[in-house]
Structures are given as structure tokens and as C-alpha cells.
């Protein structure tokens, strides 16, 4: 029939499920974050770091192959280095768990912990797109009029923050592990380096969850776009600044810094103290170098303050939950 | 006659976008309306007049002086911007006192002056204790108008001052502006509410696409537009009968009927000749006429005609 009914009609097509709607909130949030040129630069820098890490793993892997171009090039430097490299590489080939497993575990600890600031910066830039702008524009009222609950909305925003950090942290970490081992001289590298990957996933996923929840709390503090990133960065910087004073006075003050708490969790997950002890006891020459690490530093590595870190993070998360509960309500 | 504002080949661009395109005009003292659609260049022109922007080329003078960074000139100009933005944390008296001191009022007189201004713009006293962030749109508009009047300017420039006001409020603002104009203050007002401007302004300045399309009084503009048939709206008891009679008399260029409303809208070929015959034609038709309105004389009509 030529004429169609153009009047208002109820939607008769298929409805997406609740996860589809949550995905839309997360996806829109992530798109809003990625509109920022600076954030895109941070993502780029993070992946460049991942590539460099993969290149370094490739380099290390090549050193384990006696007749590789890398080994031949290094051995050309001087006769002493040639002798050292021969002895070192033959030892490493006999002890793959240490040469591959321990080395990658230690490397990924340092890469994971020292690339965390980039993610913190990225999350700070993404804060306005989480809850802040929605508070300013009353979009929460619009969301609440749709078929999504407050929990769905928050879950979607949580996934936005999680997505940002996947792009800047977990993605490059896992990518570096995969590419680094793909470029290894042997497929067994994947097996020997499995522990490092497991540790990366445990630490990465748990830290990202914690940081995402904290970010939600901070982004709900104010409806002003400039205030929430300022609060986030101020908290981070002051947390770092307080460390030297706290170390000499009230040690629990160190746990006011989320960066410090997450570092303690990293130490516990990666068992860095134990790994360094293994490396010190097993690997020639490196052991002598590691013995020169100051006792204070070794003490910190061997005994992470996990209990305090967990309690500190729990208090922060509780505060964030209270803030979100109070602020994210349709007016 | 003295010229208040003179623009000579004035242009202003934002990157590759032309805000004002080589405009030349003069504004004389009195009440002048600035009319144009969104993006016509009204706010740009107002911001140049009030010294917030510089011309990209050409020149504009107010009281014979260039407004940019010109404190003696700014003493003579009052400005009420578009938009709802006001300092949210301040109370109206606090804000007006601060601005008043900045405008040269003495410390001992500024408070009294601020209170008098708030009374003049009819902001109820029971709201004076609240912060500006808690005000409705209309209340903010009144306070904004008040800050423009604080230092008794000779020229008051208002960008969409009726926005957010209810009909009563618009009437009160219009009354205030008429009183100011009668007191010797020149007013330049931009608005989309053309009916109010029509009743308020002696002269209008029509803008579109950054160009001046017309300037002068409404009568001058209308008479300048050629081949523009007179349009009338007649409210009567037998519109069909009247239409048949007028059509037979050969005076109509066209007509529209709304019998259910009792309305007949006609376009006449020759206005002068029509008016000479009108009384006779009406008596002959036998129709009972309740009201006649000229649609072509309205500012809306001029605006539509000029901007299409």
C-alpha cells in the first residue's frame, strides 16, 4: 500500500538487553575521553613504551642464542666481553626458569609499576567524561528516565575508566609480553614466562579496578570540569610528597597515597624480594651487583606492607562509594 | 543631528568566518533596535561598540572615540550582555557595589545607588539576600540590567534584555527603557522579540550575514521597499461577501480567507487608490467590519521581507 502510517508508533523491533545498554554507556564514555588530543597522545606514548619493552625482550632473547647476530655483535666489542658472554649465555640456556621466568617477572614488575603514572595521568584527563560532566549538564536525570538503573550507569562509567586504563596500561603490558615472547628464539619462552603474565594480569586487573572506582569517586566530587582533575592530580602529588616525612614519622601516613598502596600490592604479587633473591643466588655477576642494593631498599622489597595497603585502599574505596552514593542521584 | 555611533567600512572576522562584512552605518541618539537572525552579527557589533572586540578592518566610533581600551568612553556606556552568566557566589548588592566602585562611584554613595537601581529594575527586596546563583532567569536579567545602569551612562547597550522575562517583566523593562530614553539616555537594544522592539524603538538596524540590510525608522524602510503590496487583515462578520465585492472592484492583488475565524487577509495593488475607495467599497459590500490591521507595517513583516 502506497501510504504508510507516519504517526507516532511504539517500537516493535528487538530490544537490546541490559548489557547492551551498559555497553553503550561505556562506549560513549570512552569515545568522549578519546576526543581529547592529549589523551590520545598518552595512549600513543604508552604503546610506544610497550613496543620498546617488546624490543628489549627480543634483545634479551637473542642473547640466549649463541650464534645470533646480536650475540656476535656484542662479542665483537672486546675479547673479555666475548668470554663473559659465552659463559653467561651458556649458563642462561641451562637455567631457563631463571633466565626467562625470573627476568621477565622482574622486568614486568618494573615496567608495570613505572608505567602506572601514565595511566594515572590518563585517568585524570578522563575524569570530566566520567561523572563530572553529567553532573554539570544534569544528564543523570536523562539517564534515570531511561531503562537503566543507577547501578547500570555506574557500571558503564566504571567500564569507561577501565577501558582508558586498558588502552594505556594493561594493553601495552600484555602486548609487550606477547610480542616479546613471539619474537623469542623458542616457543618455550611462552611457557617459562607464564608466571610473569599471570602476575601482570593479577596486578593489572586489580589495580585497574581500584583506580577506576577511585576515579568514579573523585569525578563525582564536583560538577566543575577543572576541579576534578585538579583534585586527582593534587591527591597524587601530595601522596608522593608525603612519603619521605611519613617514613620517618608515622608510617601509616604513607598509605594515604594510592600510588604507594598499589606499589605494595605489586611487590606482593610479583614476589619481587624472592625473585631478586633467586637472581642474586643464581645468576653469576648479577648476584654481586644485587648484593650492593642498600638494606633499606631490600627491606622494602622483601616485606611489602600489604595489610596497610589493603586497608588504606579499602578506606579510600569506601569514601569514594559514599561520595558517589550521595552525588549521583537524579535531582 | 549628532551621531552617536558611526561605523565606516567596518569588518570583523573570526578566522575565515565573517562576523561583520564591510558595514557602514550611523546611529543617532534615541531608542534604536538591532534586529537580525542568529549569526547575523548583532553580538559582534555590540561587543565592538562596548570595547570588548577590535575591528578587523574599518573603524567604529562611539561619541567620536574608538571604544577599545578606552576608559573615559566606557564611563559613558552601560552594557547588559546576553546570556544568564552572573557571579554565582555573590549577592546582588555585593556585586553592584563592587562594580559601582570600579565605575567611579564613591564608597559612601555606592550602596544607596545599588539599592535604588535594584528597586528601579523591580527586583523584589525579599530576594536581595539570596546569591545570584539561586536566581531565576528573569531575576538575573533584572540584576544584569541594573549593573548596566549603575553609573548613569549616556548610552545603554542591551543584548537580548527581554530573554527569560515573562510578559509582565518585559513590559516593565520596556517601561524602564522608555523612561530612561525620555531622560536623555540613548539605548541600543537587540532582540528577537520583534513585537516589543516595534513598540519601543524609533529606529532599527537590520542585519543578516554580517551585513546591514536596512537602517532608519520603520516608515522609512518600508517606503524604500519597492513593489511591496499593502497587506491588511480585516476582521468582519461576512469575509466571503467582502472578498467577492473587493475582487469584483479590481483592487485586490490577492486574498486569504479564514471564515471560521472571521478573518480576511488582502493584498492590494495600489495602496493609495485603495484607501481612497475603501469607505465606499465597504458601505457597498454591506459587511460589518470589527477590526483592520496592517500586516505589512509590522516589524516582523519588514524583517521577513528584507531577510528573504
Amino acid at each position: 500500500m502506497p501510504l504508510h502510517d507516519a504517526h507516532y508508533q511504539h517500537w516493535g523491533g528487538a530490544h537490546t538487553g541490559i548489557w547492551g545498554r551498559r555497553w553503550v554507556i561505556a562506549q560513549n564514555g570512552l569515545s568522549a575521553c578519546l576526543r581529547s588530543k592529549l589523551l590520545r597522545y598518552v595512549v600513543l606514548v604508552s604503546w610506544v613504551g610497550g613496543l620498546l619493552m617488546a624490543a628489549f625482550l627480543f634483545f634479551l632473547g637473542q642473547l640466549l642464542v649463541p650464534d645470533s647476530n646480536m650475540t656476535r655483535w656484542v662479542m665483537q666489542i672486546s675479547p673479555d666481553i666475548r668470554a663473559f658472554v659465552r659463559m653467561f649465555t651458556s649458563w642462561l640456556q641451562d637455567h631457563p626458569e631463571v633466565s626467562v621466568g625470573t627476568t621477565q617477572n622482574v622486568l614486568f614488575y618494573y615496567y608495570g609499576v613505572y608505567s602506572m603514572p601514565l595511566s594515572i595521568i590518563a585517568l585524570g584527563m578522563a575524569l570530566p567524561a566520567l561523572i563530572t560532566r553529567d553532573l554539570a549538564s544534569n544528564a543523570i536525570l536523562i539517564y534515570s528516565s531511561k531503562a537503566v538503573t543507577r547501578g547500570d550507569y555506574l557500571l558503564g562509567k566504571f567500564c569507561t575508566a577501565f577501558g582508558v586504563m586498558t588502552l594505556t596500561w594493561l594493553g601495552p603490558l600484555c602486548g609487550a609480553w606477547f610480542v616479546g615472547n613471539l619474537l623469542a628464539p623458542d616457543w618455550t619462552f611462552f611457557w617459562h614466562a607464564r608466571i610473569a603474565l599471570i602476575h601482570v594480569l593479577i596486578f593489572g586487573l586489580s589495580s585497574m579496578a581500584v583506580l577506576s572506582l577511585l576515579a568514579l569517586g573523585v569525578s563525582a566530587v564536583s560538577s566543575r570540569e577543572k576541579s576534578t582533575p585538579a583534585l586527582w592530580f593534587t591527591w597524587w602529588v601530595l601522596g608522593l610528597a608525603i612519603q619521605p616525612i611519613a617514613l620517618h614519622t608515622l608510617q601509616w601516613l604513607r598509605h594515604l597515597s594510592f600510588g604507594y598502596n598499589l606499589k605494595q600490592i605489586a611487590l606482593a604479587v610479583f614476589h619481587l624480594g624472592r625473585e631478586l633473591q633467586t637472581a642474586q643466588d643464581s645468576i653469576p655477576i648479577l648476584g654481586q651487583l644485587l648484593r650492593q642494593v642498600p638494606p633499606a631498599t631490600r627491606a622494602a622489597l622483601d616485606h611489602p606492607l600489604l595489610g596497610g595497603a589493603v586497608m588504606g585502599l579499602a578506606v579510600m574505596l569506601l569514601t569514594a562509594a559514599l561520595i558517589v552514593n550521595k552525588r549521583v542521584v537524579p535531582e | 543631528m549628532t551621531v552617536l555611533i558611526r561605523a565606516q567600512e567596518l569588518s570583523r572576522w573570526y578566522g575565515i568566518v565573517m562576523g561583520l562584512n564591510n558595514v557602514t552605518f550611523q546611529i543617532e541618539p534615541g531608542l534604536t533596535g538591532l534586529v537580525g537572525p542568529n549569526g547575523a552579527g548583532k553580538s559582534t557589533l555590540i561587543q565592538i561598540i562596548t570595547g570588548q572586540l577590535k575591528p578587523s578592518s574599518g573603524q567604529l566610533t562611539v561619541f567620536g572615540l574608538a571604544p577599545w581600551n578606552n576608559p573615559p568612553l566606557l564611563r559613558r556606556i552601560g552594557y547588559c550582555p546576553e546570556g544568564e552568566a552572573v557571579p554565582k557566589e555573590l549577592r546582588p548588592l555585593e556585586w553592584l557595589e563592587g562594580l559601582g566602585l570600579m565605575s567611579g562611584l564613591r564608597a559612601d554613595e555606592v550602596k544607596g545607588r545599588a539599592e535604588a537601581i535594584l528597586d528601579k529594575v523591580k527586583l523584589p527586596r525579599e530576594h536581595w539576600g539570596k546569591r545570584l546563583g539561586q536566581y531565576s532567569k528573569g531575576m538575573k536579567q533584572r540584576v544584569k540590567l541594573g549593573q548596566g545602569l549603575l553609573h548613569d551612562p549616556e548610552l545603554l547597550v542591551l543584548d537580548e534584555p527581554m530573554n527569560g522575562l515573562d510578559p509582565m517583566g518585559r513590559q516593565e523593562v520596556a517601561q524602564t527603557l522608555k523612561e530612561l530614553s525620555a531622560g536623555g539616555v540613548s539605548i541600543l537594544i537587540s532582540s528577537h522579540i520583534l513585537a516589543e522592539l516595534e513598540a519601543l524603538c524609533n529606529n532599527i538596524l537590520l542585519l543578516n550575514w554580517g551585513r546591514i540590510l536596512a537602517s532608519g525608522s520603520q516608515k522609512e524602510i518600508r517606503s524604500d521597499i519597492k513593489n511591496w503590496p499593502e497587506e491588511l487583515e480585516i476582521e468582519c462578520d461576512a469575509p466571503e461577501k467582502l472578498a467577492r465585492h473587493l475582487f469584483a472592484a479590481g483592487v485586490l492583488a490577492g486574498f486569504d480567507l479564514s471564515p471560521e475565524e472571521g478573518l480576511l487577509r488582502i493584498r492590494v495593488k495600489d495602496a493609495a487608490s485603495f484607501y481612497e475607495q475603501w469607505t465606499a467599497l465597504l458601505l457597498e459590500s454591506g459587511a460589518m467590519v470589527h477590526a483592520i490591521r496592517s500586516r505589512s507595517r509590522s516589524l516582523q513583516n519588514i524583517y521577513d521581507k528584507v531577510t528573504t
Binding site: 577543572k226 585538579a230 601530595l238 610528597a241 608525603i242 619521605p244 616525612i245 620517618h248 614519622t249 608515622l250 601516613l253 638494606p295 633499606a296 627491606a299 622483601d302 616485606h303 | 573570526y14 561587543q47 562596548t50 570595547g51 570588548q52 572586540l53 577590535k54 581600551n69 576608559p71 573615559p72 566606557l74 564611563r75 552594557y79 550582555p81 546570556g83 552568566a85 557571579p87 557566589e89 555573590l90 555585593e94 557595589e97 563592587g98 562594580l99 566602585l101 570600579m102 565605575s103 567611579g104 562611584l105 564613591r106 564608597a107 545607588r113 535604588a116 528597586d119 528601579k120 523591580k122 549593573q147 545602569l149 553609573h151 548613569d152 549616556e154 517601561q175 524602564t176 523612561e179 531622560g183
Partner: protein
């Protein structure tokens, strides 16, 4: 229709003069402090003022508590519990008398060792570390020899494992800090490192950076620049009123910090306070002017300030070259070093006081001058600002 009340015309009385400097400043001062001191903001302001003095009070021990301080050899009760749990796992029965006897030994030896430890002044960190290790080893051997008398062989074997772990944990915790601080040292670190060189500059930059940008983004700049005040004068007076506000706020904070220090009997505060207040009076305009200049140049003025801090203050300022005169921190250090306690603690390289004062007076003039020039010449447009 009601007519609006007539108001007197100033033109009749000739009040058409331009506002004087004092009048304009008074107006801007009114707008500045009234918008920043509101009842709604008061709890947050009070909390931020009190946090740092509270931290000082908590971390500086009183002379009495300091005299009673001991080296921390851990909780003997926890060690006893660990031992009993280990015995239970190994299915070794433990009697009440044995537990009590061992508990008494642990309490007694731990207390004695904690009390007998003395910190020596002018002892090298290496010597202190060795002495600490020897002290812990002595404590450990005394416990083991006394425990052997009350425990049987199986119990003693298990106890040795527990005691070794406990000893290692205690030693690692004690060696985390190689050079312990004196009683009053935390006060100076809070005051100088944390407050003076971190909080104060950040507060000033945050306070003055968005002086124009905030007005622009809120679309209220038009109300100010259409007043009969030149753009240069407007910016300078806005800066002056904001600096005055910051001086008052930071004066309060400094006084509260010193009050906390006095409550904890930090000596010689009477000579330090005037110096700190005087240097602060110079520091606030300098940092504020820097913030204002950065705010005129970029919307990301805080990031720019951190970059400035990294490059100029932490980089150039620490290198002995001719251009380290650019570092504001360096000049502040020169002035603060005039206090003996501060100098003894930090031993900053000393410069000339006159140069430092001169540089701190010139810096705001330069930054403010450039900012004023920019503001006088550049238009600031709300629509363009919102697109950034």
C-alpha cells in the same frame, strides 16, 4: 501601570570622573573576597587550613614522649601466638606453664632491649647500622638461651624457626630508615619542604592562574572589561586583590603551623616565624605572578607550572650556572637559610640576601608586565575559550 522609582542622575552632579586606583581596587577586592569566602565554602576552607597543622601535631613528638621512645622490636605477644599456632600445626602439645614462662621471657627481654637502645649523635649511618644489628643479635641470643631452659627439644626447634623469622622481620623494619630524624625535624620538613615549596606555590598558581580564564569561561568577563578601567589596570588590580586574599589565607596557615609546632615544643620558633612570614610575603606575589602569566598564555596553566617547576626550579636552579638566578626556589632558600636551624638541616648553597630579595621583587614585575601586555593587546572571547 506602576512607574519605577526615579533615580538621581550622576550627570547632573558631575560624577563622571574615572574611578581612582583606590576605588577600582576596593571594588575588585570586594568582588574577590566575597566570592571566595562564603558560608558554603567555609567547612572546606577550614578543613584545608587545619589538615597540615594537624599532621604536624601528630608527627612531632612532645619532649616527654621523645624521652620515652624506644627501638621497636615488635610485639612479643604476637610472636608467642605464632609459636603456639606452629606447635598446634606440628601436633606438639604445649602446657600453660610453658606458654607463660616463654611469654614472660619474651616480654622481659624485648622490653629491656628496647629501653637500653640509645641513639648517638654524630654517628655514621654505617656504624649505627652495625650497632643496631649487634643489639638485635644480642637480644636474639638472650631470648634463645633463656627459652632453651624452659622448652623441650622439639618445642625449642620450632621456637628457633619462629624467633628467626621474627628477628629478620624486626631487623628489616629497623634498617628501613638508615638515618633517623631528630624530634623536631619533622616540623621543618612539613613547614619547608611540604608547605613552603609545594603547597604554597601550587596554591598561588591555582589562585592567580585562572584570574581571567575563569571569568571568560563563566562569561562574566564582559561585566569587568566594560567598566571605565583600562585593561592593564584591571588585570593589575585583579592580581593585587587576589594576592592580598592569598597573603591573608596563607598567613593564617603559617600561623596555625607554628601554633602546632609551639604546642609540640619546637624550640626557637620566635626567631623563625618573622623570617618565614617575611619570605612568604615575597614568595606569594612571585608565584602568583608566574601563575597569572601562565594562565594568560595557556589554558593548561597547572601543567605548565609543573613543567616550569621541573625545568627551572628542579633543573636549572640546582645547577651552578649563571642562569640559576631564574629559580625562585633558590632565592627563597637563600633567605630561609638566614635561620640557623634551617641552615643546619638543609645546608643549601648560600647566595646573597640582597640579590635574593631583588630577584623576588623583580620576578612578579616581569611576569605581571608580560601578562598585562598580553591582556591589553589580545581579545579574550568566550566562544573561542569554550572551544579550547
Amino acid at each position: 501601570m506602576n512607574e519605577s522609582p526615579p533615580i538621581s542622575s550622576f550627570r547632573a552632579t558631575g560624577t563622571h570622573a574615572r574611578p581612582g586606583l583606590a576605588g577600582a581596587f576596593r571594588g575588585l577586592w570586594l568582588l574577590t573576597w566575597r566570592s571566595q569566602l562564603t558560608l558554603r565554602q567555609l567547612p572546606v576552607r577550614l578543613a584545608t587550613l587545619l589538615v597540615l597543622p594537624l599532621l604536624v601535631y601528630m608527627t612531632v613528638r612532645s619532649t616527654d614522649k621523645w624521652a620515652l621512645r624506644r627501638v621497636d622490636l615488635g610485639k612479643s605477644s604476637e610472636e608467642l601466638i605464632n609459636f603456639l599456632q606452629r606447635l598446634k600445626r606440628e601436633r606438639i602439645p604445649a602446657t600453660v606453664q610453658t606458654s607463660k614462662a616463654l611469654g614472660d621471657i619474651l616480654d622481659h627481654e624485648t622490653q629491656q632491649s628496647e629501653l637500653t637502645w640509645q641513639e648517638w649523635t654524630s654517628e655514621s649511618p654505617e656504624a649505627r647500622l652495625q650497632r643496631l644489628k649487634d643489639h638485635v643479635a644480642n637480644w636474639d641470643s638472650r631470648i634463645l638461651s633463656r627459652a632453651k631452659a624452659v622448652l623441650d627439644d622439639r618445642e625449642f626447634a620450632e621456637f628457633q624457626v619462629v624467633q628467626q623469622r621474627h628477628r629478620d622481620h624486626v631487623l628489616l623494619k629497623l634498617t628501613e630508615v638508615s638515618v633517623p630524624w631528630s624530634r623536631t625535624e619533622p616540623f621543618y620538613h612539613w613547614l619547608i619542604n611540604f608547605y613552603f615549596f609545594l603547597i604554597l606555590p601550587l596554591t598561588c598558581v591555582r589562585g592567580c592562574g585562572p584570574l581571567i580564564r575563569d571569568e571568560l569561561q563563566a562569561d562574566t568577563l564582559g561585566f569587568l572589561i566594560t567598566r571605565p578601567v583600562s585593561r592593564a589596570r584591571l588585570l593589575m588590580l585583579k592580581y593585587a586583590s587576589q594576592v592580598a586574599w592569598l597573603e591573608i589565607l596563607l598567613l593564617l596557615e603559617t600561623l596555625l603551623l607554628f601554633a602546632a609546632g609551639a604546642a609540640r615544643e619546637v624550640p626557637a620558633l620566635g626567631t623563625l616565624l618573622p623570617l618565614v612570614l617575611g619570605v612568604q610575603m615575597l614568595a606569594v606575589p612571585a608565584w602568583s605572578a608566574l601563575g597569572l602569566f601562565l594562565g594568560q598564555v595557556t589554558t593548561r596553566y597547572m601543567a605548565a607550572a609543573l613543567l616550569y617547576g621541573a625545568i627551572v626550579e628542579m633543573g636549572i636552579g640546582r645547577i651552578p650556572t649563571n642562569i640559576n638566578i631564574l629559580s625562585i626556589v633558590r632565592h627563597l632558600q637563600t633567605l630561609l637559610s638566614q635561620n640557623a636551624a634551617v641552615y643546619a638541616l638543609y645546608a643549601w648553597p648560600s647566595g646573597k640576601v640582597a640579590t635574593a630579595v631583588g630577584a623576588l621583587l623583580v620576578a612578579p614585575v616581569i611576569f605581571l608586565g608580560i601578562a598585562t601586555l598580553l591582556f591589553s593587546v589580545i581579545e579574550y572571547h568566550h566562544a573561542a575559550e569554550m572551544q579550547k
